[in-house]
């Protein structure tokens, strides 16, 4: 028998109110403080959790419906891509290094954010905030899974995609995103929210997912652009929540303002350092480029971030402390990071190479103030050296910044010829930093950052060898032993692109595409 139901549907605001309010209860078996032990110690004061509103007013039923639709579309593309040997339609096998770095260093971060939002959702008291955190945790899990499914197709054909979980906990350059994620995960729930939802998702993720993913499309990688944009459709919700979360905290109590400002200062700087890797991917690893890192920074950080901070000024919030230095660095970081990875190309699970003349000319045009003066001569020198049979591979290990864990390769603000180097002595121990901002982050939380697991320091202490190696053996090669500990397939995963197995296979398979 059909039920006679009213035709009138609730409006979006009524639906949101019904699905996010009045769902909680006052605990009686335990005091509320024991049930929610972590939402006070950071000093944030919340007087009315019901003021938390998701501007999209997304409710769980709508969430499942739209996410299901997104996934159906995504998996149709991934399947078609795999069935039609889509990997042979990319511009050039050099492009795969960008996807390897994404897979090794970005995807596991998605998995960390799942844990972070699950935890924040557990520890916030307001129902609407808990629902928002729950959705975001599920989103991030979806990102990790869809990236795994999309990229596993590349793992069938190319090197460097294996052993992601193993490498994440060990490999030197992956400690940069890993330590970033662990810093956020081990912070209180409100700091986590400002670190990830606001500083990273709102101010910085556009730089990763918009121009870089458009670049993936430009390079013929429909699989990556599809998971990238599918993830970004969730990110646009997260960004909106990020700005909502910060307004909520600032409006709840004036005492929250200086605490939030401190977190913005810290996390903007930390995020801008992690994204130096993306700068290198955009400027050097995409054979066809949509825009330069500098242009992307100007649109998404300076213009959009600038509008945001003008807007937050009414709460007494100013742009992050490192803003001017990060903006100046837009002319330099992608080149400095690429040169670092090129020289340490024997120890990366992706390939590096010398840019072609056409690519050097593109960089000269995009970076008129810095490239010809500081970077082109070095790249040409390294290319000439390689042509004469002397490919440069650094074998001594660099000093790492205790905070961001990036080797000291960035230069002083105002002087691109001088490596920036800071030191702090804390309880008799010397700590090294890449910048005054990273040094200050350490000084604000020394108890946390003295625990940094710095790969170079661990290697020198002998903690990065497989258990069966004998460092006293006469033929012991420490660098090789470390790379084996990382689970690299030596000579296949690492080294120059020129002459690599990936280069040869791609050329051979693509050659077969047109004939038997």
């Amino acid at each position: 028998m059909d039920m006679n139901v009213s035709k009138k549907k609730l409006g979006i605001k009524e639906r949101y109110a019904h699905m996010t309010r009045g769902l909680g209860w006052e605990p009686t078996y335990q005091p509320a403080e024991a049930v929610f032990p972590y939402d006070k110690y950071e000093g944030i004061k919340i007087h009315d959790w019901d003021k938390w509103v998701d501007p999209f007013r997304l409710t769980m039923d709508a969430y499942w419906k739209y996410q299901g639709e997104k996934d159906r579309k995504l998996y149709a593309v991934i399947e078609a891509f795999a069935q039609n040997n889509g990997h042979l339609n990319i511009t050039d096998a050099r492009y795969l290094s960008a996807i390897k770095l994404f897979w090794q260093g970005v995807s596991p971060l998605e998995n960390y954010v799942v844990q972070g939002f699950a935890r924040a959702g557990r520890h916030f008291r307001g129902e609407a905030s808990r629902i928002a955190c729950q959705m975001q945790a599920v989103d991030e899990l979806r990102h990790y899974q869809t990236q795994t499914h999309s990229i596993s197709n590349y793992n069938k054909y190319y090197n460097g995609f294996h052993s992601q979980r193993h490498m994440w906990d060990r490999v030197w350059y992956l400690s940069v995103p890993k330590s970033f994620g662990e810093d956020a995960l081990s912070a209180g729930p409100f700091e986590f929210l400002i670190a990830i939802s606001f500083s990273f998702e709102y101010v910085l993720t556009n730089l990763l997912f918009v121009p870089f993913m458009s670049g993936a499309a430009y390079n013929g990688d429909m699989s990556t652009v599809t998971f990238g944009f599918s993830a970004q459709s969730d990110e646009s919700r997260h960004m909106t929540l990020g700005i909502e979360a910060i307004k909520f905290l600032l409006e709840q109590d004036p005492a929250n303002v200086p605490i939030v400002q401190g977190w913005i200062d810290k996390w903007f700087w930390r995020g801008s350092k992690v994204l130096a890797l993306v700068g290198m991917m955009m400027d050097y690893m995409l054979p066809k480029r949509v825009m330069s890192w500098k242009e992307a920074w100007e649109i998404y950080a300076e213009e959009n971030g600038g509008a945001l901070f003008r807007d937050l000024a009414r709460y007494g919030i100013r742009p992050p402390k490192g803003w001017a230095d990060a903006c100046e660095a837009k002319n330099h970081i992608s080149h400095q990071i690429w040169l670092l990875f090129y020289e340490y190309g024997g120890a990366t699970a992706f390939h590096t190479w010398s840019p072609t003349n056409e690519e050097l000319d593109w960089l000269s045009a995009k970076y008129p103030d810095s490239f010809d003066k500081y970077y082109r001569p070095r790249l040409e020198f390294l290319r000439d050296k390689h042509a004469r049979g002397g490919r440069v591979y650094q074998t001594t290990l660099p000093a790492l910044c205790t905070t961001c864990q990036i080797p000291l390769c960035f230069t002083e603000p105002g002087d691109p010829t001088k490596i920036s180097h800071r030191e702090t002595v804390h309880e008799g121990e010397k700590y090294v930093f890449c910048s005054g901002h990273c040094q200050e982050i350490f000084s604000n939380e020394p108890e946390k950052f003295v625990q940094s697991w710095l790969p170079v320091n661990q290697i020198y202490q002998g903690n990065c060898f497989n258990p069966d190696v004998d460092p006293t053996a006469p033929d012991f090669d420490p660098l090789k032993a470390v790379l084996e500990y990382f689970h690299y397939n030596l000579g296949r995963d690492n080294g120059d692109f020129e002459g690599s197995e990936d280069q040869q296979n791609f050329a051979k398979w693509r050659g077969q595409a047109g004939h038997n």
Partner: protein
């Protein structure tokens, strides 16, 4: 006035969204990049349900935007009939 933007995927589902934004926001500027379309404007942008429905001849739920949305900037005001993004500066 600061600039706001809405970026959607370059596909057939999102095309009427871009067309509706252009139709209803005279100062909107459209920039096409590989696989994506960015619509930007000084101050604010409004997407009206009725405009999308008139263009496609089909019912449209404002939240369908989520399926093809890539990025958005500004404060969001969403109702059943419209979505507006704006900066207060």
């Amino acid at each position: 006035m600061s600039k706001v933007f809405i970026i959607v995927q370059a596909n057939e589902e999102a095309r009427p969204i871009v067309e509706a934004l252009v139709q209803d926001n005279p100062n909107a500027v459209v920039q096409e990049s590989p696989a994506m379309v960015r619509v930007e404007a000084e101050g604010s942008l409004t997407l009206n349900r009725s405009t999308v429905e008139a263009l496609t001849g089909q019912p449209f739920d404002i939240q369908q935007l989520h399926i093809n949305l890539i990025s958005i900037s500004g404060h969001i005001d969403e109702e059943d009939d419209y979505l507006t993004v704006a900066w207060n500066n």
